[in-house]
Symmetry: C2
Subunit: 550 residues, 2 copies
């Protein structure tokens, strides 16, 4: 027997419609690519999203067609978020920091029909044009006065199109399982893979992301959205913000402290989410400006971190110096991205600073909607004791069931779980802690050495700017760790000193067989260590000493 | 094109499973019907819900069968909430305070197969047994030692059944639109009508109810659930609590201050929801116990009120004396029940006490998922100006599309909106304010007089315990208001005094043609004025003076 409830599909258009109805005047403030600060509100965004829908129609975009964006976080990208998906087309947010060949691969793989791009990417697009197979229209996200001088045939101007389009548009109603947006993974191994979200998954994810035990977003929040809108839907925040009518601050192109700090101060930001790298840059700015009176100038109360593991010292500094609560989250492009969120439980209220740091470097606990399990190589579930680690699997209504165009084949296990490729422990309270990525863990004598733990241990040495650990083959132990280190500018530090530092922090047989110093490490477009590249670089490398293990 | 996201149905079983996995030790504290305080936790509730599912199976309950409850808020009722719906049967919560004929009507109308009842209703059930047509098994919600001595053939004992059942049970997976529970309206006109919720509507409603801008429920909340679990699913709170793992305090049978206060104090309650009548009783208790040190003893920070309009003085007293934030909500059995919620916006932060009172007597603003409109008698949308009133219509995924067994026929309008039967204004910020029920409003000379406003105006007189206003026919003006008043115990107040009091608060032509004093007013089972009864009582009544209107 079916219930007798109204059968309203969960659609992304409902989010912006809600914001326009109940929060029309709420501000969206952006640092524009052209330079000046730009202010709009939900009423106008909703308006222009409808104009975008009419533009797409005129450009021949049909239901299900992919529409690409190469763009920073601005109000125009917000308009595309709602205009493209709301009309039934698929918003494909492309990461412009990828290598040009990857951008090319992705645009062709997705078969985008139209590409909207920020003027900062005009010459990138110009170079790609001859290689792009499906794109029929290129649109520069600017007004007539700022149109880039590039050789892109039939290049269109966003403001001309939008302002010229009718605002009359009724959001269509369709199956909530319809594809809404497409985002490719960061590409730490080979080519990125496309994750195809649905309206349903997006709305459900938004409902959970705004919950008090997740990111606790309300009409009282002012969100500085540093996570790029091309990175896993900016962790879902554009949708969440519209759902609650929160004020948004969109930083555009520049994500360094110099640019973020004034926005945070002037717009009275209460909440900001970013990857650890961004917070490191923010610290550099604070270090260079000891005169700033943070207590007086800032009112940020919540900082979200994810994408990679924040070092313990970062959590502590953010909480003590900024007086904000750090909420770590773990997720993947494939998980929309919310998987687990780290909020202390009431029983943690009495923890001292060390205890809090200990707790907060864990990735977090499961939220409703997400089922997780950790299993060993044989697929057997591991206990939640904080000790046993296993391959992390995840299931739920906003978790991918596969990749776009079946790239990678059927990926779910026979219980319907998605294999994350991460290795983790779960403690008795359900806090998940990442050990490593399965492909990065060093398998030494049948046991695991976490490259992540070794990197964190090295990083806690003041002379270390960055460290990466990869496996090198070993006759007796199969694999042994090799550490590659970038020294902090001006720091005097040698192998022995780092080795001694590590020896105090990890068991003896984990110590790397060698430590090599380099000037820089290879990274992915989202700022993650690109270990595939590093492995190529050090293929055949022979350590200068015997494995401590022996 | 469909998204590539996992197709997990939204099911009620996922709520209790989440709580059992991530909050196994969180407490559910109940005042048992047998007397003592009872403590359990989510792990055990989840366990026993599975045992309930096995019991239902043994009793021959099949997918979609209705299972009735006549029960107060206790842990056993929680077990039934999850055990019955989780297994695919329909939980039918019956209001035991209805007139026995209504209880009989409802049980037969729903064709319940099994009835679980609290021992306090044993003799009610005993009397009904001969008239009940579909019930095959009666189960007393108690243990062997407390089985009531009644003549109910084959009466079963809940604890015997549950403890004897296997805990092995896998929650079945099925279409999320499957009916999950059934609840009848309060019956202010004729027989109550059945509202049939689905798993989908229940889960979506829970996600929204827990949001920061709605009831803001988290693992840090301790919920004293005074709204009965037979009244619109206790405003959805049993589901929300499980979704976040909140501690619950279930007060059982006695809802007066004498019983609620110690629970609030001893269990460190932070949040409680109840209809205005309950808070009136609570005040009586506080008045009788001036020695209580509320600041020291209580930590309640949020009070939810709905079901009928809280008088302004009540809001003020709760906020000033208890230091809690009052969150009014408007809803109906037909709306799951969350329709609008009253939280101040950031721009209200500077309001003084009078301004706050003014704001907080409004019913609230729309939340995501709910679309509302007000239309005049001709169906034309009315402006959101806080002045124009209209019939309130509502649409959304947790709003009824019709009644059980098509009672009342097709009810939605041609845009798919549900007619609430309420008349309201909407102000420019989207705050809804009820004017009256359409059937209670007095239509005088083509204009409306709000019986609700008149009642509130009378209620603000210290000598008035309760007041009801109904229409009486008038030759010239079609209808004129008649006010019926119950004096406060010991109060000396007469018609002239009340009339003078009213004259300061409403326009002259609204003044009732007569004020009649009575000893008590008729109420529905949920404590609402039963105006149908009052109209019968005063049929043919002739007012003692001329309509002021003339
Ligand atoms: N809080 C966190 N701490 C540590 N690692 C994290 C955290 N959050 C995410 N990660 C890592 O990031 C991964 C998800 O990143 P993303 O989806 O952006 O692409 P990627 O996995 O880096 O790229 P690709 O899948 O193409 O190799 C996770 O699998 C995990 O390894
Ligand atoms: N906050 C509130 N302020 C004023 N009235 C309210 C409020 N919340 C709910 N109501 C009233 O309660 C009604 C919903 O009540 P409920 O579903 O319990 O049954 P009922 O309408 O009283 O009974 P029936 O539909 O059988 O006549 C609303 O239509 C509205 O008139
Ligand atoms: Mg990945
Ligand atoms: Mg009603």
């Amino acid at each position: 027997m079916q219930g007798l409830m109204q059968d309203k599909p969960l659609l992304i258009s409902s989010l912006i419609e809600h914001a326009a109805t109940f929060h029309p005047e709420q501000e969206i403030v952006s640092r524009s690519i052209e330079g000046p600060i730009h202010r709009t509100n939900y009423r106008r965004i909703a308006h222009r999203a409808k104009q975008v829908a009419n533009v797409l129609n005129e450009l021949g975009v049909e239901f299900g067609d992919r529409v690409g964006t190469l763009a920073w976080n601005t109000w125009r990208h917000m308009e595309l978020y709602f205009g493209v998906s709301g009309s039934g087309a698929v918003l494909h947010t492309v990461n412009p920091r990828l290598f040009p060949e990857q951008v090319e691969y992705i645009l062709n793989h997705a078969e985008d029909k139209v590409l909207f791009f920020d003027i900062s990417f005009a010459s990138l697009v110009e170079k790609l044009v001859p290689k792009l197979k499906s794109i029929e229209h290129f649109v520069a996200l600017t007004d007539r006065a700022h149109m880039p001088e590039v050789d892109i045939p039939g290049l269109l101007c966003y403001e001309d199109l939008v302002e010229g389009a009718s605002v009359e548009y009724d959001w269509p109603e369709f199956d909530e399982r319809t594809a809404s947006s497409l985002c490719y993974t960061s590409g730490t191994t080979g080519n990125p893979k496309g994750v195809l979200y649905s309206h349903r998954s997006t709305v459900l994810h938004s409902l959970m992301a705004m919950a008090p035990d997740a990111f606790n977003v309300s009409v009282r929040s002012t969100l500085l959205l540093v996570v790029p809108m091309f990175h896993a839907n900016a962790w879902g925040m554009p949708y969440v913000a519209a759902m609650v009518g929160a004020k948004m601050v969109l930083p555009g192109e520049h994500l360094d402290g110099e640019h973020l700090y004034p926005l945070m101060r002037d717009e009275r930001v209460t909440f900001s989410q970013a990857v650890p790298t961004v917070w490191l840059m923010f610290f550099q700015y604070l270090d260079a400006h000891p005169e700033l009176d943070l207590d007086k100038e800032l009112c940020i109360d919540t900082i979200g971190i994810g994408g990679s593991a924040p070092p313990r010292a970062m959590v502590r500094r953010l909480e003590t110096q900024l007086g904000a609560q750090v909420i770590q989250g773990w997720g993947m492009t494939e998980t929309s991205p919310l998987g687990v969120v780290n909020r202390p439980l009431p029983k943690h209220d009495d923890l001292d600073r060390d205890g809090l740091d200990e707790l907060k470097v864990k990735q977090g606990r499961g939220i409703w909607g997400v089922h997780i399990k950790i299993v060993n190589d044989e697929g057997e579930p591991q206990p939640w004791d904080g000790v046993h680690s296993g391959h992390l699997y995840i299931r739920g209504p906003w978790i991918a069931s596969g990749y776009f165009r079946a790239e990678g084949g059927g990926v779910l296990d026979d219980e319907g779980y998605f294999p994350t490729g991460d290795i983790a422990t779960l403690d008795p309270d359900g806090y998940l802690q990442l050990v490593d990525r399965a492909k990065d863990v060093i398998k030494s004598g049948g046991e695991w050495i976490s490259s992540m733990d070794l990197e964190n241990a090295a990083f806690s040495h003041p002379g270390v700017a960055e460290a990466a650990v990869i496996a090198i083959p070993h006759e007796k132990w199969q694999e042994r760790p090799l550490m590659v280190v970038v020294k902090r500018a001006g720091a005097q530090v040698d192998e022995d000193e780092i080795m001694a530092h590590l020896a105090e922090r990890v068991v003896k047989w984990w110590l790397p067989d060698d430590i090599v110093f380099v000037d820089e490490l290879p990274h992915t477009a989202t700022g993650k260590l690109l270990k595939t590249k590093l492995r190529e670089q050090f293929a055949g490398y022979r350590p200068r000493r015997e494995a401590v293990r022996s």
